[in-house]
Point group: C2
């Protein structure tokens, strides 16, 4: 499994991803799921991946190979004129890889085995900062004011706090804290999501990568959030009024 | 979908279930998923159901018909000597109903369509209070000190608070508050879980049903928890230390 969240703020984007991949609980590895491209002063792009690791690695390799050997036939995300066109390229590449792996050869048990989902965001000079969720079918949706973040992978445990504490006006430090809380809830519940985490910040109009950090399990901020959140939750729970026991005999 | 939680405490059991059933988002109904049996002073049993409504209603009807017309061939949960034997009856009935509905006739799209899962608990005079999770295969597991509660249906959103705030020593009022918080997180995230809720308390060695309450959306306790939890969560979030922005430029 996987857990990745991309958050759109007034001042930019914050991405956080875990690094655990598994083929069964007895075959666990650490892989980076956060990929970035930048042409300082011109464009900055970030991609997080969930799903079949062979698929997501192929997609990233294809996108990078095309960047190294651009041609008219194969447009690249580094030459795309807008983030929308770049997202179309990511989507088309994802769709192509899945279709190619599906065609012929022995098939795995589940029909969705080759699928993957991605969160893609960034900015190209002259355009706004964009955040997209890219589906295995190659299509994609864009974050809006009403839906200002995307989650992929194991999304449920960490969603309640995102829904309640997100504020488009929050600063990066607060947004990172929010994502850490959401990841902590998920990691405690699901063995297939785990530290280290990869953090990436993008500040709108900077046109270069912002804060980049690998968050190990021993990271002081992570420990403060992870250890503090249990106590904070219990305090929050205590602060609620007691319920009445109508008809009860307690 | 459905959400039901059964909680084992030192002083007894607390059950909370929602009432929403759906066949697609355009076909929603309210059905009771909480079923109780009692012979005051002798035994008290509670059953919560998730899954195919035809299956769960059949199981409950069969259990009740047998209670009305007991025979040597068909033992009943009201004549079972122990909670373990009663749980075996529930499991066997569930397995029989699923197998019968599966055999012959037109099949629905998904192979698991007739499945259901149940939480069953209570006490029979002379024995301890027991809490079981019953699977569609007819087998079941019992709650222990390490795993003191069971969830069925849409379990993920409401799990983090249960894991963190549960305490076997808590009183019934606090346990009900905990379940309400867990349900609030779930109901806000998943349209297929909804009020009214059915609450049932059982106090160990009372051998009769305890507090029984239908919690409507307008219930004062429910409103206090639901409205208060967002603020309490945000306060908890604020109370965590800010993260540092190493390598950052915020």
């Amino acid at each position: 499994m996987t857990y990745c969240v991309g958050l759109q703020l007034d001042r930019g984007l914050v991405f956080l991803s875990d690094t655990r991949t598994n083929a069964g609980v007895d075959n666990i590895s650490t892989y980076r799921k956060m990929h970035t491209w930048e042409v300082p002063g011109e464009r900055t792009m970030m991609l997080m991946t969930a799903g079949n690791l062979a698929t997501t690695q192929s997609v990233v390799s294809l996108l990078e190979e095309r960047n190294l050997h651009p041609s008219d036939r194969d447009p690249t995300i580094l030459s795309a004129p807008t983030m929308f066109q770049a997202a179309r390229l990511v989507g088309q590449t994802l769709k192509d890889v899945i279709q190619q792996q599906r065609g012929g050869g022995p098939e795995a048990a589940a029909p969705t085995t080759f699928n993957a989902t991605m969160i893609f965001g960034g900015q190209i000079k002259g355009g706004p900062t964009r955040l997209y969720m890219v589906y295995p079918e190659g299509n994609f949706v864009e974050a809006q004011r009403d839906t200002p973040f995307f989650q992929i992978g194991e999304t449920k445990y960490g969603r309640p706090i995102l829904v309640r504490a997100y504020d488009p006006d929050m600063d990066f430090a607060r947004a990172i804290k929010l994502l850490m809380v959401s990841f902590d809830s998920t990691i405690r519940a699901n063995l297939s999501v785990s530290t280290p985490l990869d953090l990436q910040v993008y500040e709108t109009d900077s046109l270069k990568l912002g804060l980049t950090r690998r968050v190990e399990d021993t990271d002081a901020d992570w420990r403060a959030v992870s250890d503090g959140w249990s106590d904070a939750l219990r305090t929050a729970f205590d602060s609620l009024p007691d319920v009445t026991l109508d008809e009860g005999r307690d």
